[in-house]
């Protein structure tokens, strides 16, 4: 049998198709990840705003000094608590240990990312 003969025989076959449900499952999984990402971004923004208010309030109360006299604890948005309570508690601790002069959304996001990867105590 020649190679062309074999190829012709094999071309009467085809590789099996994926099940119809695969596309649905894939899209559902991708959609879930998208929703989770959006919730986490919203929670991070809320966290940053909360921390900024807390530090600003501390600055106003201790005007003229380099260290705020009083720093109320930043509140952890419930969205973060819902996603990852352990991460939220560590983020709260971070806010007390390492106050940022002007916490930005980016700085908060990076800090939380490092926390989740165990890069910060």
């Amino acid at each position: 049998m020649s190679v062309p003969d074999l190829e012709a025989r094999l071309r009467r076959l085809k590789l099996a198709e994926p099940p119809d449900a695969l596309e649905g499952r894939m899209l559902a999984a991708a959609a879930s990840m998208g929703r989770l990402r959006r919730r986490f971004r919203m929670a991070l923004a809320a966290m940053a705003a909360s921390m900024l208010l807390a530090v600003t309030a501390g600055r106003l109360s201790g005007a003229g000094t380099s260290v705020p006299a009083a720093r109320p604890a930043p509140s952890v948005p419930s969205e973060i608590l819902a996603i990852d309570p352990a991460l939220a508690r560590r983020a709260e601790l971070l806010a007390w240990i390492a106050p940022m002069p002007a916490p930005s959304f980016r700085a908060t996001h990076d800090a939380l990312r490092k926390l989740s990867q165990g890069e910060l105590p």
Partner: protein, 159 residues
């Protein structure tokens, strides 16, 4: 946009993973994981040649699965033939499909994928080379070796 990519290349990725692994469940899992990972990345940051990127990623994922010794033993008894008759109404091809599936499954990965992508997915050697980032001569060589081995095993078979 994700759905468009799936429509364009998803079934091919499944068939490709199935050709390498011989396991429909593993092939499904690889494809699903690939697209979920893609969904986690902003579309603006997807690779320019996302189809080729997905083929390479499917290959890497399938090879990782093959590396487990226990998995290799399981794959020798494939759950279902990777190859099926084009004409479902032709029962005479069922036996040949099963034997061809086994023969394809026993090829080395490089030869198996060259045969699967060229013979069954109708990709040119050039297209395969671009997707896998190897020269088309290398693809052609792997294909020739693969077809040669299939010919030895299936020479006496009648479809």
């Amino acid at each position: 946009m994700l759905a468009e990519v799936y429509a364009r290349v998803g079934p091919r990725l499944y068939r490709y993973a199935l050709a390498i692994l011989g396991s429909p469940a593993d092939a499904e899992e690889i494809v699903q994981d690939l697209f979920v990972t893609l969904a986690e990345t902003d579309a603006a940051r997807w690779p320019a040649q996302v189809d080729h990127y997905l083929i390479r990623s499917a290959r890497n994922a399938a090879i990782r699965r093959l590396q487990g010794a226990r998995r290799r033993l399981a794959l020798l008894k494939a759950e279902a033939p990777a190859l099926v008759p084009r004409e479902a109404s032709d029962p005479s091809l069922q036996d040949f499909a099963a034997k061809a599936s086994r023969a394809l499954g026993e090829l080395p990965v490089e030869q198996k994928e060259a045969v699967a992508l060229h013979l069954f997915e109708n990709m040119s050697f050039k297209e395969i080379g671009e997707a896998l980032e190897i020269s088309q001569d290398t693809v052609a060589s792997r294909y020739r070796y693969g077809i040669g081995k299939l010919k030895e095993v299936l020479a006496d078979e009648r479809p």
